[in-house]
Amino acid sequence: MILVVLENQRGKIHPFSIESVVAGQKIAKSLNQPLSIVCVGDNIDNIHESAKQFECNELILASHPLLKTYSADGFSKIMIDLIKSYSPKYCIFGHSYMVRDYVPRVSANLSIPFISDITSINLSSQNIQFSKQVFNAKLLSRIENESTNGCLLSFQSAAFSSDELLQGAPKKVTNFEINLNDSDIRSTTEEEFQESSSGVDLSTAELIVSVGRGIDNQDNIPIAEDLAKALGAELASSRPVVDMGWLPPFRQIGSSGQTVSPKLYFALGISGAIQHVVGMKGSKNIIAINKDEEAPIFEIADYAVIGDLLEIVPLLTEELRKR
């Protein structure tokens, strides 16, 4: 069988999980295997209700009060028990932060491989091949499962489109008996919280000038600021620029920052790692300036400017100011 695990994100099915259902439906069909979908958590009524719309053979409900708040100990124990009793050929997750946190524990405990952060699959090869980004997104790697005891998979966002979800209804609904004690959970967790943003909402910006590590040092930041000003654009950045303290965190775009879809995204010295790209790939137009002709950002750019941003951008700003 193929097993897909749904993640409960504050009362809703995590969007990555819906894409992983699509992955599960396709893999199950290609291998001619039954598909089961499992809802894990405490208050799973909401996600159970939504999951009833997905075409699959079985919907499994794995609910327990001790799963009310997420813990790596609790969730990995349940997954280990589920896998032991169902022995799925593939167990599929969305590549969320929660999955990053506990699924490796399942892999190490059961000695089965976890192929993580997959961006595409090749179902037509004899052994399914999974592709993921390696070497700073400059290359892709095709990976095969070598284990006969099952395999864990996690899919990066947009590896599959939720538009292709097959609607239907599970043929049966099963309750999974959970054995979990207080003593299994070693962690104590506090409430989730959001840090106050400064009121800058980049998600509605029409024009964004975004700066990456290619700007080289803090003293060069005004080069990007001046371009943004001349264009009437918002200033944004990649993660390392924030990590190094060159710009404040609320300007960060990407999986741990903001998601934007402006009319123009001007990427200056940004390589195009997947964690950045997920935050800006919805942009209508992308102009990227990078001195490396092979930078992955050029795969999604509409205009690929190959050159030194430290030379080009000041010239461009000057031209803009002349108008």
Binding site: A72, Y97, R105, R142, S197, R239, I312
Partner: protein, 257 residues
């Protein structure tokens, strides 16, 4: 407190990445190896904890890979203030994270570390798993994506980054394996005194070939991504490039008058 810090040697950002003739790995001769970015933050966090405790705490750098690639980053870690290092020499190119974690676990399990710090993800293979896998192998509690840590008696309180701007504090008992998110601190540079002192520090060498290594997932081929969009390529002298961009902004995108 005994703290292990996993540090991996990876190709620098500027390195030329070319697939080698086997098409399963890159041409190493073109590559300059440096420490993985988040591992540098992990090391700094460990050094800060050691300094704040001001007792006989120990920070041990652990690196697996071929000696020629790892020795530079190990020296650098010792120069920054780590007390000693463990080098797990592996000539073979192992890409399966569970194999990597198993080999590291076999070499360090007798050390009884209180804490293992790792980076959240390696920039070359990027499985984002080795720290957690190792934690499970060593029966430790685990946490990932830490952006702040507070040491308590026999526990550690960690601020975790969740998705889209959410955070959470959690407390886990020691021993624990924790992956560190970049940006948690400001990694130091080695001092001249540190560089001199590093020469006398111990580097224990293990040979990974003495341990079993059965890869459960294998990298069968590396390949170059294809472009999703057919981008207009703009190159030439900076002045003409800037003029072309101006035209695009005006005529194609109409974002300026």
């Amino acid at each position: 407190m005994k703290i292990a810090v996993l540090t991996k040697a990876i190709p620098s950002y500027e390195s030329l990445i070319r697939i080698d003739t086997s098409s399963k790995w890159i041409d190493d001769s073109l590559v300059n190896y440096v420490v993985n970015e988040s591992d540098a933050y992990a090391l700094e966090e460990a050094l800060k904890i050691k300094e704040s405790l001001a007792d006989d705490s120990e920070v041990v750098v652990v690196s697996m890979g071929s000696e020629d690639k790892c020795s530079k980053i190990i020296k650098d870690g010792l120069a920054k203030g780590a007390d000693r290092a463990i080098l797990i020499d592996s000539q073979e190119k192992i890409s399966d994270p569970l194999s990597i974690a198993t080999l590291i676990s076999d070499c360090i399990k007798d050390e009884q570390f209180d804490l293992v710090f790792s980076g959240l993800q390696s920039d070359d293979l990027g499985s984002g798993q080795v720290g957690v896998l190792l934690g499970e192998k060593l029966k430790m509690s685990t946490a990932t994506l830490a952006i702040e840590t507070q040491i308590q008696p026999s526990a550690i309180r960690v601020k975790r980054e969740l998705e889209s701007g959410w955070f959470q504090w959690l407390t886990i008992p020691l021993p624990a394996s924790i992956s560190i998110q970049s940006g948690i601190n400001n990694p130091r540079y080695p001092s001249l005194k540190g560089i001199m002192g590093a020469r006398n520090k111990e580097v224990a060498k293990h040979n990974s070939n003495q341990f079993s290594n059965n890869q459960l997932q294998s990298m069968v081929e590396l390949y170059i991504p294809s472009n999703e969009k057919q981008a207009e390529k703009i190159e030439g002298d900076s002045k003409s490039v800037a003029s072309r961009i101006l035209e695009i902004l005006k005529n194609d995108l109409r974002v300026i008058q």
